[in-house]
């Protein structure tokens, strides 16, 4: 047991020595290898890449010199922390997963070349060194990819959340008249958020009429229709009236073919028509003050 660990330590010692003594040449060769795999869209300055690479070699050297065999252990905390930061920032900067993982994997070739060079006694030792270095870099490469994946997922879910809120602005058109302009795909979660904010605003403003405008919804299929009907019912339950606007002729025809029954839901082709109706339902009309203004125009 003690023997194997001492053997492991002397092996890792050789790798650490190469990383330390030959670090300047290794750095140049590694940067050259990295430049080959980086595309233009992963924007990173030559200086930044150099300082990242230098720091990684030094952290890696220290961790390997500690003799700890598992990259999960506390001796590797700094290396993992560094890679996690690098991976997160690359995920946000738009690097591909390949470009991100290649940071670690591209070190293999220049490092292996140096492990195979002069200072090493025999072929067996060289093979062992390369094998051990390979195991370490593989682990670190996979770790980098995992962090990248997680960061992307977080980024996407944050964007989805932003979009949910962006897509549901309830606007007050007049005293007692609200409009909800819907844009894009009405999936379940978006409809849910939209419906909740609409109902809340109805209560806050004491509105009598809500207009659901679907001018910006390209496709109304049975699921979309179901969501719309649910929203209309909820508005009715609040004691308010609901008008759906933005039903273009082609959408109207499609809804009929689908067999969706809109029942007694009031629908209008445009938001303007819906607004006119809403005004009249709340006891108002729009009249022109001066007919001449329009005549001259």
């Amino acid at each position: 047991m003690a023997d194997t660990s001492r053997a492991a330590r002397s092996e890792s010692g050789r790798i650490a020595r190469v990383l330390e003594q030959d670090s300047a040449n290794l750095l140049e060769a590694w940067i050259a290898a990295q430049s080959k795999v980086l595309s233009a869209r992963g924007s990173i300055s030559a200086n930044e890449l150099r300082s990242q690479s230098r720091e990684f070699i030094s952290l890696l050297q220290k961790a390997i010199a500690s003799g700890a065999s598992s990259v999960d252990g506390p001796d590797w905390d700094d290396v993992r922390g560094f890679l996690a930061d690098l991976s997160k920032s690359r995920a946000i900067q738009g690097f591909s997963p390949r470009e991100t993982a290649m940071f670690v994997f591209s070190l293999k070739e220049p490092l292996f070349e140096r492990l195979g060079a002069a200072a090493n006694p025999d072929a067996d030792t060289r093979t062992t060194d390369v094998w051990n270095a390979s195991l370490i870099l593989d682990e670190l490469g996979i770790y980098t990819t995992e962090v990248y994946q997680k960061s992307r997922e977080q980024l996407i879910s944050r964007q989805q959340q932003d979009l949910l809120e962006l897509s549901t602005p309830v606007v007050k058109l007049w005293d007692g008249i609200l409009a909800l302009p819907m844009v894009g795909t009405l999936d379940s979660s978006r409809t849910q958020v939209a419906m909740e904010s609409l109902l809340q605003r109805i209560v806050e403003t004491g509105s009598d009429v809500a207009i659901l405008d679907i001018t910006g919804v390209p496709t109304v299929d049975t699921l979309t229709a179901q969501h719309l009907l649910k929203t209309v019912n909820a508005v009715h339950l609040m004691g308010a009236e609901c008008i759906i606007s933005g039903i273009r002729p082609q959408i109207a025809q499609t809804i009929v073919h689908l067999g969706v029954e809109l029942g007694d839901v009031v629908t209008k082709a445009s938001l303007a028509d819906a607004f006119r109706l809403a005004l009249s339902r709340t006891g108002r009309t729009v009249t022109r003050i001066d007919a001449h203004v329009n005549d001259r125009a």
Partner: protein, 134 residues
């Protein structure tokens, strides 16, 4: 019938369903379908893609631009290896659903298409092909 263009896309997520709608729309525009026909075929595709995802557990959509005796059109095939449909007539009945939908998608897709072909076997999967001519 000659296939001018063919695209096979996965139907494994909600995003894929959106992507199917977008691809079908641009294909329909390219084939010169009227606005009403574009809307019909996109809506039918949306229904079938969602069935592939929700009931079939995911599958593929084959989107083809076709020409037959000078007529151009779109042929769309949705295929999955899910549980299949036990009673096809019942599934096509308006209002029938085993989920919590309106139960109008399958029949609606048929009414929105010029040609409709449904193959399904319990335990093997489902394949629905629709064609919309210009």
């Amino acid at each position: 019938m000659t296939v001018l263009r063919c695209e096979i896309v996965p139907v494994r997520s909600q995003q894929d369903v959106v992507a199917v709608r977008q691809s079908v729309r641009s294909l329909a525009v390219a084939q010169g379908l009227s606005l009403v026909d574009q809307t019909k075929v996109v809506t039918a595709a949306s229904e079938l893609a969602r069935n592939t995802l929700d009931h079939g557990g995911g599958g593929t959509a084959r989107l083809e631009a076709v020409i037959d005796n000078g007529r151009t059109g779109l042929r769309l095939t949705f295929e999955d290896r899910g549980p299949g449909i036990k009673d096809v007539d019942l599934a096509l009945t308006d209002g029938f659903t085993t989920g919590n939908g309106l139960g109008l998608g399958l029949g609606g897709a048929k009414r929105l298409s010029n040609e409709f072909d449904l193959w399904s076997r319990a335990g093997e999967g489902t394949r629905v092909t629709i064609t919309r001519w210009r």
